[in-house]
Symmetry: C2
Subunit: 227 residues, 2 copies
Amino acid sequence: MPPTVRRIPRPTAQRLSLYLREIQPLIAQGQPTLSSRELGEKLGVSSAQVRKDLAWVVQSSQATEAGRSGVGYNCVKMNESIRQVIGAHRRRSTVLVGAGNIGRALLAYGGFAQEGFSITAIFDSSSRMQGKRIGTLMVQPMSALRKVIRTNRVAIGILAVPRSAAQNVATQLCEAGIRGILNFAPMRISVTPGVSVTNIDMSVALEQLSMDISIHDQLRINSEGAA
Amino acid sequence: MPPTVRRIPRPTAQRLSLYLREIQPLIAQGQPTLSSRELGEKLGVSSAQVRKDLAWVVQSSQATEAGRSGVGYNCVKMNESIRQVIGAHRRRSTVLVGAGNIGRALLAYGGFAQEGFSITAIFDSSSRMQGKRIGTLMVQPMSALRKVIRTNRVAIGILAVPRSAAQNVATQLCEAGIRGILNFAPMRISVTPGVSVTNIDMSVALEQLSMDISIHDQLRINSEGAA
DNA sequence: GAATGTGAAAATATTCACAGCG
DNA sequence: CGCTGTGAATATTTTCACATTC
């Protein structure tokens, strides 16, 4: 039996995306290598952390070559290996459900295409939206969802509908055989086993920030009192 | 000397927002109490975890009363205590910089007001947007930013501008004395010490999801191979 | 010298399990 | 009973520190 292949740690996984975004511009400007210290400083992460993370990448991607002592990591190689681990080495097609502001913001951002994700189709339940063009895509009725996902083997559904509709749409996505859902609705959705969900929840983020501010305040008060 | 008051753990902090959202509808329907098991099941968290988290809330908020054995937690009391810990017990005023799709999505969502956050003003550097009304607010020029933040003691800046403008605006927010920034730009921003930042990064989220899907695939393959 | 790669140590976070309360 | 509160045990993640390589 192989010695229990441990899964990639979640915090590591999150940082890999950040590394990717730092590395890419460097490749564009032709920088050949990058040290763990340099990369870490850009992101406020310790160099040891970067090396541990990249060690996971090398292991998981079965890359032939890793970093070089005294030199650093090869930017191009690292980019490829990280993208392979992330699963962004081949394009993943997505559908967007909900043609409201969030949906349009995503389309406008566009950085996705560069990262290997492409939006295949847009759906909206409102007949007012249907048939409208957003960018190069036409908004389709929900009735077309299942077929589009099946025939294009769409992996990811982006759920950008109001809370009240979210669970219903999530269920439809699951039934159509989606593999993962990026959920912008401010609620937990339940899905078929085997379907992954990532939540982007602006209320939670705002409250997190508020809490950080409160904590900061308390530290300030404490240190003033102590000093 | 007090026995080193440990800071609230970050994962706990994130879950508190989720607890809040589950509790609020229950209060509205008049449910008096909630057990850690019930709350945990709604969110896929163990009951022990919920109790540990709520123990932090009780400690940090210096609440007089906590849960009751055999009964559960008082919904109303818990709501108040959590909001106090989060710093949402009194309204925090925010400004929105960037009147694009993300900004409008935030305004349209509106759930913030209910949670104790209110958007005081909107700014945009484009003269095309300036003077336009979005909801009840008028888009103001960047030149007004500093004064509005100072005079209204605005705590939070929501940064919804393109990547290229993000660092510049962040710096302006810091100089105006902002306490925290909710950053939607797909990059790390650097800020004055003492200013908190929370990032909402859609690329990172999408890649996280992609990775989860890949991992799922591998498990499937492995277990098929093993079986 | 400058950097990687990595065990070992430390710090954090989660789960267990049970005494004790209502 | 059912449920909280919490130490103790476990698991996970980060940091340290150093032998090793270029």
